[in-house]
């Protein structure tokens, strides 16, 4: 008969317990992986795989039909000296600045005003949100008709004695085309921003407004001193997404102007599309895609810096 000391008894009991704990942790990890696996698989198929392929293809002259040949950094060298790409990049910058200011301001102010409505708020929310749920092609077709110099809004106003838009060709004039497309996209987009901002504003503690009122603050003061700081996480997130989406913009531009007239509405994504599908330069188009990805990555890194280094609550 073996007599075990109390210590060895405890150790003997602890070993199976550790094994049970380890097995439980393994099982939990397995369950977690089982749940994540489908998404990882989808990600692998539609993001990681094509993304990796794009990186590799950006160093080739692939035309989509023949075998790709390695060309080193030639595509990137062409990218940064191409007048078409630099022109498109500049338009992306203009587009981003426009969307960071105009629709964001409209959404903020609109949401603030709506938040103060006692009645009819839902009606306005629905009305402003409807453009967002319309298919791009449909709303673009509607606006193409409205902006048509023959029979559009210019003609309609002229018939009632307001002729100042009669000869304006919004989409045909290279000086107006980018702004006109941005206007149409804003019409569709700002209602979405408004609804998100409104939801954020409704989560702000009402006692803050009551205290401000007692201190004699007016609506403008309330907006700057309470609303805006309180919704900063939402604001920063939407600003971040606006920057990323502005560099990825394609649909309205392609449907309304296809990047024309003469490249006046070209952005990086229309250049990418043209190079890939009209000029059969998938290798070069992949380099353009890498430029777009880099811009998004820089934006996200900026976001992380705000979160971690500056301790912003975003």
């Amino acid at each position: 008969m073996t007599i075990t000391s109390p210590t060895s008894t405890r150790a003997g009991a602890a070993a199976p317990a550790r094994r049970r704990g380890s097995a439980l942790r393994r099982r939990r990890r397995l369950i977690a992986w089982a749940f994540v696996a489908p998404l990882l698989l989808v990600n692998l198929l539609v993001i990681t795989g094509p993304g990796t392929a794009s990186i590799l293809l950006s160093f080739t002259d692939w035309d989509g039909l023949n075998s790709p040949s390695f060309v080193g950094l030639a595509n990137y060298a062409e990218l940064f000296t191409s007048a078409a790409v630099l022109n498109a990049l500049w338009h992306n910058v203009i587009w981003t600045a426009f969307f960071l200011v105009v629709p964001m301001a409209m959404g903020l102010v609109g949401a603030f005003l709506l938040s103060r409505l006692r009645r009819g708020q839902m009606l306005f929310r629905v009305l402003f949100f409807i453009p967002y749920v319309l298919a791009t092609v449909i709303s673009a077709a509607i606006w193409r008709q409205i902006m048509d110099p023959d029979g559009g809004i210019g003609d309609a106003l002229a018939t009632i004695g307001i002729p100042f838009l009669a000869d304006v060709n919004f989409l045909g004039n290279p000086s107006l085309a980018l702004g006109s497309v941005a206007f149409v996209n804003t019409w569709q987009w700002w209602g979405f921003l408004l609804v998100i901002f409104l939801a954020a504003m409704q989560a702000v503690d009402p006692s803050l407004y009551e205290a401000a009122k007692l201190d004699g603050a007016g609506p403008v003061r309330e907006f700057w001193s309470i609303t805006l700081p309180a919704i900063r996480p939402t604001f920063v997130f939407l600003a971040l997404m606006t920057i990323i989406w502005s560099f990825l913009v394609f649909d309205y531009i392609y449907v309304l102007t296809q990047g024309g007239p003469a490249g006046s509405t070209d952005v990086l994504s229309t250049v990418l599309y043209r190079e890939a599908f009209e000029n059969r330069r998938q290798g070069y188009a992949s380099a353009v895609a890498m430029l777009l990805t880099s811009i998004s990555a820089i934006t996200v890194i900026g976001y992380l810096v705000l979160r971690r280094k500056l301790k912003w609550d975003v």
Binding site: I31, F35, A37, D63, L65, N169, A262, N279
Partner: protein, 446 residues
């Protein structure tokens, strides 16, 4: 792990596997059906094609053809992508022999010489079309429709103003000036919605102002797009734009589409429109009185070119996918589309679509066919004044440049000379790489 968790995990795994498998499959080929992608101007055209060709073929075929309908303006790009992905149908559509030649050079389509012999295509097809469809001396595609560029006008409007269809540049300018004075847009044009419309205009102008002889020299590398004749032709177009003759001016050019041009002709706000013969059907549909539209051969736009030049164009060419398990059936279907003139003309009579480039005699046209179609397809074989449509004879990248960069000529951002210099550079690269097709030799130079 409790029971619910286990079930959820299992369902997740199955769903992921199913999704992955779904993602891996495409619209590719099966060996039971012959796959074909078609694109049509209208539902009526599609119906006629389905009845005459698809149902007709399937009535006796062992391997039935299964047609998938695509958008007309994007079928070329869709096919390019599908071919690149190895998911193209058995019978591969191309926007003409030039696009088809790229597929052949990449080994994505098979040589058709064996089938050409079996179905006698060399004798049935017009020689220029047959030769143009060769790559490295092997038949790579079969053209299924051919046409030309012509000048459309409204008979009533011309009669009202006392105009006749112009045959020379001075006559054209007289009519245009008179139309502008009467408040009409003298010449329809534009590229809204489809940038490729620019090459319709350029095909007409290059053939009518520079001429087939000079174009042949350029296409064979013996002349250059930078030669003065080409600069003069582009300058001529630019002068029309600056005067507001073409599409009403540069801004309107970018917001006017094909439908608007045809509607303008029909309602008398546009005097003339240079477009392809594929528009015959649209004209008859848009004009309130279908007898009121007329076509005339292109006027000569310089002293070097005889009036009435017909740029020859093939808009669709079919090939057989290298990966097809039904190559014999695919060839049989292609022959069903182009090999029988009576069947092809029945389709043309019903839809106004261009017939295949077959040697057609006047007595073969069915009684119900539009007489304007008969006039066209009897005039072309009788003339030697034929030219080259850009989308048919220009190599793909040169053609892409021709279209996309022309916008800058319209806006005045680049000069005609600079535009043509870029065009020559694009062409030279493809010419040096052997990507050009063999154009037919102009009459009198054999």
């Amino acid at each position: 792990m409790n029971r619910t968790t286990r079930i959820l995990a299992a369902v997740g795994a199955v769903a992921a596997t199913a999704l992955a498998l779904t993602a891996c499959t495409g619209g590719g080929r099966s060996s039971s059906d012959l796959t074909y992608w078609g694109a049509f101007y209208s539902p009526d055209t599609e119906k006629a094609f389905q009845e005459i060709f698809v149902d007709g073929y399937n009535g006796a075929a062992q391997t039935p053809v299964k047609m998938e309908v695509k958008e007309l303006t994007t079928i070329g790009k869709l096919t390019d992508t599908a071919v690149a992905a190895g998911q193209a149908p058995d019978v591969i559509y191309a926007d003409g022999p030039s696009s088809a030649s790229d597929f052949a050079r990449a080994g994505r389509t098979i040589a058709l010489d064996e089938y050409a012999q079996k179905y006698d295509w060399q004798d049935k097809l017009l020689p220029w079309a047959y030769e143009l469809s060769k790559v490295d001396d092997k038949l790579s595609s079969v053209p299924t429709g051919y046409g030309s560029m012509v000048l459309y006008y409204n008979k009533s409007v011309f009669a009202e103003h006392g105009w006749t269809a112009p045959t020379t540049l001075s006559e054209f300018e007289t009519v245009a000036a008179s139309a502008a004075a009467a408040g009409l847009v003298p010449l329809g044009g534009g590229n809204a919605g489809y940038q490729g419309m620019s090459e319709w205009l350029l095909t007409a102008v290059l053939n009518a102002a520079v001429g087939p002889d000079k174009l042949y020299d350029v296409l064979t590398g013996d002349a250059s797009f930078t030669d003065p004749e080409f600069v003069g032709a582009i300058d001529l177009v630019k002068s029309w734009i600056d005067q507001g003759w073409l599409a009403g001016g540069s801004e309107s050019y970018f917001t006017t589409d094909d439908t608007a041009n045809i509607t303008g002709l029909a309602n008398g706000t546009t005097a003339m429109y240079m477009s392809g013969t594929w528009a015959f059907n649209s004209m008859s549909q848009v004009f309130e009185d279908p007898e009121d539209w007329a076509w005339a051969p292109l006027p000569s736009l310089s002293d070097a070119v005889q009036p009435g030049v017909y740029p020859l164009a093939i808009g669709t060419a079919l090939s057989i996918n290298t990966e097809s398990k039904n190559a014999d059936a695919a060839a049989s279907f292609i022959d069903y589309l182009v090999g029988d003139a009576d069947r092809a003309l029945e389709y043309t009579a019903r839809t106004g679509e261009n017939p295949p480039p077959l040697a057609i005699t006047a007595d073969q046209f069915p009684a119900e066919i539009d007489k304007r179609t008969v006039e066209l397809y009897t005039a072309i074989p009788e003339t030697t004044n034929v030219g080259y449509a850009t989308w048919t004879f220009f190599p793909p990248k040169t053609d892409a440049y021709l279209i996309s960069e022309f916008d800058k000529v319209v806006t005045g951002d680049v000069t005609s000379a600079a535009y043509l210099e870029g065009l020559q550079q694009a062409f030279q690269k493809e010419h040096d790489a052997g990507s050009t097709l063999t154009p037919f030799t102009p009459a009198g130079r054999e």
